[in-house]
Amino acid sequence: MKYEDIIHRCFRCGFCKLTDDYEEFNCPPHKKYRLESFSPGGRMWLIRARLKGDVQISERYQQILYSCTLCANCVTHCIFPFKEDLVNIFTAARESLVEEGTLPPAVRDYLKSIQTYGNPYKEPSAKRGDWANGLSVPAYDGQEYLLYIGCVGSYDERARKIARSVALLLKTLNISFGILGAEEICDGNEVRALGETWLFESLAQRNIEYFKTRNIKKIITLDPHAYNAFAREYKNLGADLEVYHYTQILAEKTAALADRLKTDPLEVTYHDPCYLGRHNNLYDEPRKILAALPGVKFAEMVANRGNALCCGGGGGNFFSDILGGGKESPARIRVAQAKETGAGIISIACPQCAKMLEDAVKAEDLEDKLAVKDIAELVLSRLETK
């Protein structure tokens, strides 16, 4: 296994479970299960135990590995020099399960769907662009940017609404962009997160080749997961792309809409998606957009930026649900944290977070107090119609 030479260096001291000020336990599976085996240190020691033959692959071992959301809280808060590799180590351990063909059924089914259908929803590729029906969004044809939507934005009902909002906003801002529709290929971020490196590389190469063929140099992504794949992982595979999350584009342009925006008061908080924040250090841009909205009072959650609690959907859990729901699930804790701010809206910048938190709002019976809105939806809703 990769990283075998450093894995024994984990002291299991537990800084990785916490936030900066040590106020909260912030590792989603540990927060839910509380057993030490579900903490990052516990996982490190178990991976090593498996390498040594002290434990075997079992349902529990799979659960412990795959309930990790790869949220990188451990990377942010570990005090040791190897901290940057923690998520890579967990991913490598998953890779070894893939190599041995011993996967939890939900993970196996996800990977099979990607292989067979090109998406986890078992939908035909032809429907990939349906989210844009009626919007007059142009197909990519040499515009400045490609707007890349990804599987969730293309097929999930809730996420499609976010995709539409982003596209409409980009149009309103006169950004030159086009979409690939049915020709779009899965970015593979979750495939990699679930340990299927071969399939990820194959998807990445297909995308890289396709982008080259179409002379696509600049990409705006809807989904932070796709942003992560393109901006970080594809670079390692030789891609030469300028990648932006849509909040980076909006952050520069929203102020230009000032005289068209409503000014009635609205209190809003913001949830940092892990693949935007901890993985890619994009904390300011979404806040800059919110700050540019007249009438919007921004209420920061106590756990924010590098301390934000993951929604529980990362690391493939959005699809596999191995971490699972229940009262101790991170999404439910997160909406409770949002409620504490007194804001009526949790703004987000990730379609997966949107869905996870919206479900949690329902489970916590907070529907009349708290709405989940993507930042693009929020900006659109503040635009005065002429």
Binding site: I6, H8, R9, C10, F11, R12, C13, G14, F15, K17, L18, D21, Y22, E23, E24, F25, Y33, R34, L35, E36, S37, G42, W45, L46, A49, D54, V55, S58, R60, Y61, I64, I79, F80, P81
Partner: protein, 484 residues
């Protein structure tokens, strides 16, 4: 674990503890019985979970665990103990699990009672300066809670990682960042709620008589029946801990010296001033500039003028000890060291990666000051004998004794290195006792050495107390046992 293997293991336990039969003679399903108490989510007999609880971060060898249970209430603790007592199943209560000497890794299998779900801060009485907390409250959460809600108060925070528990630190007679001024954490205990192995729930301290938890006496000092006993007498579920004023200003002043024999005198003189908050001695053979004796004094104050005065007084003291030739003030302290000294808690755990091996254990001695030079030299000798670079962090405990750490980093991936660390620990423990020192939170092997040296009448008293409180010997068995 496959059902057959699980059953085999069950049977082994049941045979080991011959009382584990119901009236009808059928075997008790221990796992299901525990699930019935806490709910299935908080009981595990999975090998992956028990593996983690069967070892700690030090160099002690692993020991098997059969079940991990995470109670959420005192009633659940009570029911678990009643059940375990009935079936004679060993129970090991666990807080942060970070003693490094495997005190809460069971010596005879059975149940690990992980208390971390009981993590409520029940009350902070600002006027009487105490916090009533459950057993699973971490150092970090109490510190953050006080910072947020009672910023004028603080509790004594150890050098251990922030996830360890406050109650665990108090029960092992641990120390914290204000120990030099106020004493050990165990001295800061006002009272407790405990569950006895036979199921009774008792309140100790003023809460036994009143509804308040503000003082430990003046009644018989029953908390002492649970402090330093390593969980062998019962399970502490709540604890009232003294809080202290939190000064607004802190500063560090560091002195250096190469005179090992002068250490007792320097400690005496620096503590004689009675003005410091924290005080520790450090050294490290590498890099060379760290290879001196450093006296690190943390000063705190409520007013800037007060802090300036204390700094001035301590700067002047160097000129007085040994006619100004024994210690000198370290000017231009490296920013990283400055931060390390003033951080509460400091990130002391990084010592585990000194050798890129992830392993660290120390043999801790509580010494009178006059014994420090001998131990200082011996610790270096032991480290060198085992091919290690010597490094020390010792904390002065009020103005009476010092916690002297014989520190050993090791490579967790190298069995020989682990064995060397164990050997170094054993040699250190033996030397501590030979030098009339006391071993703090000693491993099972260290406890054997202590019990062997202990006054037989005292050992008999310990045995009698244990027997009276835990007649079936279920509580963390193997600890504090009288040698036969």
């Amino acid at each position: 674990m496959p059902p057959a293997a699980r059953w085999k293991r069950h049977t082994e336990i049941i045979n080991k503890f011959c009382h584990a039969k119901t009236d009808k003679g059928a075997f008790v399903n221990i796992y299901e019985s525990l699930c019935a108490i806490t709910g299935r989510d908080y009981v595990s007999q999975e090998k992956e979970d028990t593996y983690i609880y069967s070892r700690d971060s030090g160099a002690e060898p692993p020991r098997p665990v059969d079940y991990v249970v995470m109670p959420g209430t005192v009633e659940e603790v009570q029911r678990i103990l009643l059940f375990a007592n009935e079936e004679a199943i060993p129970v090991t209560p666990l807080g942060g699990g970070f003693t490094l000497s495997a005190l809460v890794v069971p010596q005879k299998g059975g149940i690990v009672l992980d208390m971390k779900r009981m993590d409520k801060i029940i009350e902070v009485n600002e006027l009487s300066r105490y916090a009533l907390i459950e057993a699973g409250v971490s150092q970090a959460s109490l510190r953050a809670y006080l910072k947020k809600h009672h910023p004028r108060l603080q509790h004594s925070t150890p050098e251990a990682p922030p996830a360890v528990t406050v109650v665990g630190n108090a029960l092992i007679q641990g120390h914290g960042h204000i120990t030099p001024r106020y004493g050990l954490t165990s001295d800061m205990v006002n009272g407790m709620e405990v569950v006895l192995p036979t199921g009774e729930v008792c309140r100790l301290g003023s809460s036994a008589v009143t509804d308040s938890w503000y003082t430990r006496g003046p009644i018989p000092d029953l908390p002492g029946l649970f402090i330093g006993w390593f969980g062998t007498t019962g399970v502490v579920t709540k604890l009232s801990l003294k809080l202290y004023p939190r000064p607004q200003y802190r500063e560090v002043i560091v002195f250096s010296s190469d005179d090992i024999d002068a250490i007792p005198e320097v400690i005496f003189e620096l503590t004689q001033l009675d003005l410091l908050e924290d005080f520790f001695l450090i050294t490290q053979e590498k890099p060379d500039w760290m290879n001196h004796i450093f006296y690190v004094v943390i000063l705190s104050a409520h007013f800037e003028e007060e802090l300036a005065m204390k700094i001035r007084i301590y700067s002047d003291v160097a000129k007085k000890i040994g006619n100004g030739k024994t210690i000198k003030v370290v000017e231009n302290l490296h920013p990283a060291l400055y931060k390390r000294f003033l951080d509460v808690p400091p990130q002391a755990a990084v010592a585990a990666d000194f050798r890129k091996g992830g392993g660290f254990q120390y043999s801790a001695a509580i010494l009178s000051f006059d014994k420090v030079p001998a131990c200082w030299r011996k610790g270096i000798e032991i480290a060198h004998n085992h091919g290690m670079v010597a490094s020390y962090v010792h904390q002065v405990l009020t103005c009476h004794s010092i916690m002297f750490g014989f520190n050993y980093s090791f490579n967790r991936a190298d069995d020989k290195d682990i064995a060397a660390a164990r050997q170094a620990i054993d040699e250190s423990n033996r030397f501590i006792l030979e030098t009339e020192g006391m071993i703090w939170k000693g491993s099972s092997e260290a406890q054997k050495l202590i019990m062997k040296k202990m006054d037989p009448a005292t050992a008999m008293l310990i045995e009698k107390i244990k027997k009276a409180m835990d007649p079936r010997g279920i509580m963390n068995p193997g600890n504090w046992e009288v040698p036969r």
